[in-house]
Symmetry: C2
Subunit: 645 residues, 2 copies
């Protein structure tokens, strides 16, 4: 490596030429940065490329499939780390403050990506870019500075090892602009913890898939962005109209999210038996009320926060002074964190959970995987599979909040048992042996999020199927379809006419799964938040207004299905098979107590449902997309091995 | 048969109770009339039934599959004849004046139906019914009188054998109401000509599938309807808004249809080589200008006519005094008739074509099948397969207008060679032998309409695939997608992004075929005319306004796909297989002259396209719908053999 990467490098300002002007079709810019040789290029995909892959997982899957060689080391220079916005990112409508980060996952060895909210994605668009492709591996720590159509690689040795808030502050000072937005890894990413996150704006996380480790392996500590360009749209008045509508209706439609945050449902979930508790051994937690969004509001909540352009303010800001000191700069815990560090570790101390959340944000750890890794270790300890010697004397039992906080530090530092848990529960269990595998609650190596498939059976099929391993974002939550309400009304618009029991796994449920997972994938391509109560119809209007395309629910749902197939092909090429589309045995084992006592997913029904899902997707019995399905989705070029299409 | 069916029978007036009121969901009434025992019943399907099967082909396929036993004689009492409207029939928006008629087809032996425009369907809705199911077989000629929620069976011996205009006049006089609308058969239906039509309002035809013969076999000469009830809708203001929009825009969008009618494209079609000429031996006709819509306007056109609520007035009214006398009460020839009786019989005499059209209307013959049957005989005569003895001395050569008109009479009367041709070209050719099969241009026994698959290759795949045999309504016309325009714009809204050559049969074309044929099936379910230039989006708005359902393009296209599968299952049960999904060898044989000289459909490309289409539909390699596809479409009840669903 002869080139000094710390020398800054500037590129042109093509974006100023107005290629995105609607008269010339919908176009944009992709920034490509090679950290091995320091080369920076700007690419200009055309309208039909954007209309095929859209954004988010679509762009990421396209580039990964095309450019990352099969069997590449996720933590080696051949892997690529891609930051992608969508056609709605940065537009003045609620839910548009999102972007995705993707790479081959060091956690699963397959397709990996994650979404985050916040302000970073909108800023990237304002800087003139839809996506950044990071290639190669820098010989020394660097960060990337992207601003108004330009990009430069800057040294970051002085930032290495520091907490995320320190780094964000330092970069803003260094660049002399407090409005710079920073996406970064923390020390956990530097240490290649396999579920390290990419953090942006300190309180937003592309949490899953271990993308922070990929970023760490490239020695890229951060990407700072700043732009002054308004994102051009085809119909600004329509977007304003939609924004006004949501401004007038969000309180009625999503007031609970403002009031209690995403953890507002903890108590009712516990009562229904679907709150993951003590490493998914139980579904109901006696301390649920103490860790709920309601309790948070009454105790440690000091403010609410939002993402770009969103009035809902579902994000929490908490402050704790004792016994733990929690800095509000890191926001506050969301539902996934409350359950992962709380009920699932048997911890009912909200302040400890808040502290854990703050440390995961500062260190750059995914709270879901972190919580599940620790709950796995707790169960192993209680069952004698791990001993006090393994834990270096820690009494690693469920409910031990101090042990939880200590283990977070050890994982981030890859110290002691933390080094093992930093590999994720799948690898850790394989190494530990002695029955530990039964306690490792993961799918394809990714720890299961805080949604109980024994309550929501099709969610379990969705877990098995997801290209990134267990995933709750691109999935259905069966309980929403058991009664009249927004979800069922939206499902009805696709032709699902009746309510469906949560524990029903028959054909009509799989039809729902097929339709809705396609759509949820489209929501990712658009980079629109699923919490904002837009109807599908409004999303189509929004897409039309943003792009000028005369699109439809049909086209957009098919775009979602397209990327499902693209990620599937990526995983098949990496050696995944139908045998990997499975969920932990625990979910086939009945609860021994609680509201769902005696309930489990029937294995035969699960197997039949999975096969039916394959078939509905147009896949063969082994889960391979058929040529006809690829052709139907405009992915025929993948069959012919053509260079481009 | 002890019961005297001529005794009138009255039923209740359930419809007055307002069950269709939107607050109670979308409901309606189906009239069931058994002509064997004279029983009349009214059924009240619920909202979810209507939202699954909608109308038209949906209702017909449902009832036929459920109620007509496999292998039933199409002309026997077990067959059922169904008249069905759709959710849009009778609403005050252009294109809504349509209804379907269906039965097991005596022409193909498989699923049969046909659509007609006019006013009869709207009147049936105003009388309180969405559909009429006619069962059994009357011992003597009858007609059905349906009015304001009531129905009675009335004697029709005095009408039997008379021309359609006489019968319509007689019924109106008899019922004492000039606003009664009449759907009826003519003498050809009475004589069980296998392509006899059901005529309504004298100038509108449910032409294909031989439904007039089914009606004749039941000795049902006519159904007269009259209603005074406005069709209830969920959002009348929205419908008025749409109607106003079309009122303001139809001239710009569809002015040619007003000006020249559907035959306005004859000359350009001939120039492109796609005008069926001399039994599809050629694609270009030297007399094209003489028979064009332009020539018609300059000569015999005396008025234009319309369907219910439609401002476009594409229908022709012609008057001829010599050498043929043509009565304007029967309207005038549309494109299919101009080509079938004109170019395809080598006839360039527009007045003779107009006379042929008038006689087909008066006698109740499908002009397409009639024209193709005669052109078949002309070619056979010219090739010596039929002799002057077979034709009873007629010089049955292409271009002989007198012979054409004589043969129409002979077919309707089943006299001489006409009796053989009345069986359709498939049966006639089998009987004639001596190579006649090569000249019989049909699919599944139904004569090919006036669209040349060597110009439009995917249309050929659509012909092969259609459940009713060769069909131009639920099909794509490839040439529309070779350039920017309304069709491509609409295709783009489904994600088909590029223009596609008309002779291209690759995957992207089959994707287009799959998407568009699904949609065209939905247009049939809604009973909306494909000539009216509504966008897909406007159709969705219309459906919402009509029904109150929060529906979408997705749901509606899937409803189209649903009925495709239902009709497929009907045909499979009747013994059809993939071997029947074929087109005449002629279309694989190159034109020897004309603009498409040397052009044919490549057989290998055709075979591959058909298989790909099967696969895109979710069918197996033999063209059987898979269980997953049926489940996805809510047709799982067909797999389980359940009584209802």
């Amino acid at each position: 490596m002869k080139k000094d990467l710390r020398e800054t490098k500037k590129v042109g300002d093509h974006w100023k030429k107005g290629e995105r002007a609607m008269g010339k079709g919908y176009t944009g810019q992709v920034l490509r940065v090679n950290l091995s040789d320091g080369k920076i290029n700007i690419e200009h995909p055309n309208d039909s490329f954007y209309r095929t892959y859209f954004g988010g997982r679509g762009l990421i899957a396209y580039y990964l499939y095309r450019e990352v060689p099969a069997k590449a080391d996720p933590l080696g220079p051949e892997n690529k780390l891609i930051f992608a916005t969508g056609p709605l990112t940065g537009l003045p409508v609620a839910g548009s403050g999102r972007n995705s980060v993707g790479a081959k996952s060091p956690l699963t060895g397959g397709y990996g990506d994650a979404e985050a909210g916040g302000f970073w994605g909108a800023e990237l668009k304002r800087a003139g870019f839809d996506a950044i492709i990071v290639e190669g591996q820098s010989p020394a720590p660097v960060y990337l500075w992207v601003h108004d159509g330009e990009a430069e690689i800057r040294p970051a040795e002085h930032l290495w090892g520091r907490l995320t808030a320190d780094v964000e502050k330092a970069i803003k000072e260094e660049l002399g602009d407090p409005y710079v937005r920073v996406a970064q890894i923390g020390p956990a990413g530097e240490k290649l913890v396999r579920y390290a996150t990419v953090v942006n704006d300190l309180t937003h996380f592309a949490g899953r898939s271990g993308l922070g480790a990929v970023m760490g392996s490239k020695r890229l500590r951060a990407i700072a962005v700043r732009g002054h360009k308004n994102v051009e749209v085809a119909d600004a008045a329509k977007l304003r109209e939609l924004a006004r509508w949501m401004g007038e209706n969000y309180q009625q439609l999503a007031g609970g999210l403002y009031e209690y945050g995403t953890a507002g449902g903890v108590v009712s979930l516990s009562l229904s038996g679907g709150l993951p508790t003590r490493n998914f051994q139980q579904g109901s937690f006696e301390g649920a009320e103490k860790i709920s969004g309601q309790a948070m509001r009454e105790s440690i909540l000091v403010d609410r926060d939002n993402c770009f352009a969103c009035p809902i303010r579902c994000k929490r800001v908490v402050k704790v002074e004792g016994p733990y000191s929690v800095d509000p700069v890191y926001g506050g815990p969301e539902y996934e964190t409350v359950a992962a560090l709380g009920s699932n570790c048997g911890v009912d101390d909200l302040k400890a959970i808040a502290k854990g959340n703050e440390r995961c944000a500062a260190l750059g750890l995914d709270t879901i995987s972190t919580g599940v890794a620790i709950s796995f270790a707790m169960e192993a300890f209680e069952k004698g599979i791990l001993t006090r010697r393994d834990t270096e004397g820690i009494e690693l039992r469920f409910g031990n909040a101090e042990a939880l906080l200590t283990m977070i530090e050890k994982i981030a530092a890859r110290q002691g048992l933390g080094d093992l848990l930093a590999e994720g529960v799948k690898r850790a269990a394989e190494k530990i042996g002695g029955g530990a595998e039964e306690l490792a609650i993961h799918v394809k190596g990714q720890e299961v999020p805080m949604h109980e498939p024994r309550l929501k059976h099709a969610l379990g099929v969705g877990y098995a199927f997801s290209p990134t391993g267990a995933d709750h974002v691109h999935n259905i939550h069966d309980t929403a379809y058991t009664r009249e309400g927004a979800s069922l009304r939206e499902a009805r618009s696709l032709g699902i006419l009746t309510t469906l029991p949560a524990d029903y796994l028959g054909p009509e449920k799989i039809r729902l799964l097929y339709y809705e997972v396609n759509w949820r994938h489209f929501m990712n391509l658009a980079e629109l938040c699923v919490f904002v109560p837009w109807t599908r119809e409004q999303v189509v209007e929004m897409m039309k207004a943003a792009t000028g395309w005369n699109t439809s629910i049909w086209e957009l749902a098919k775009a979602g299905e397209r990327v499902i197939n693209l990620t599937r092909l990526f995983n098949l090429r990496e050696g995944f098979s139908d045998a990997d589309d499975r969920i932990p045995r625990r979910f086939f084992t009945a609860f021994s107590d609680g509201p769902l006592q005696g309930k489990a997913i029937p294995p035969e029904a699960f197997a039949a449902a999975r096969q039916l899902y394959y078939e509905m997707l147009g896949w063969d019995a082994k889960g391979h997309p058929t040529p006809a399905k690829l052709h139907e989705l405009g992915l025929g070029w993948l069959l012919e091995g053509a260079e481009s299409h």
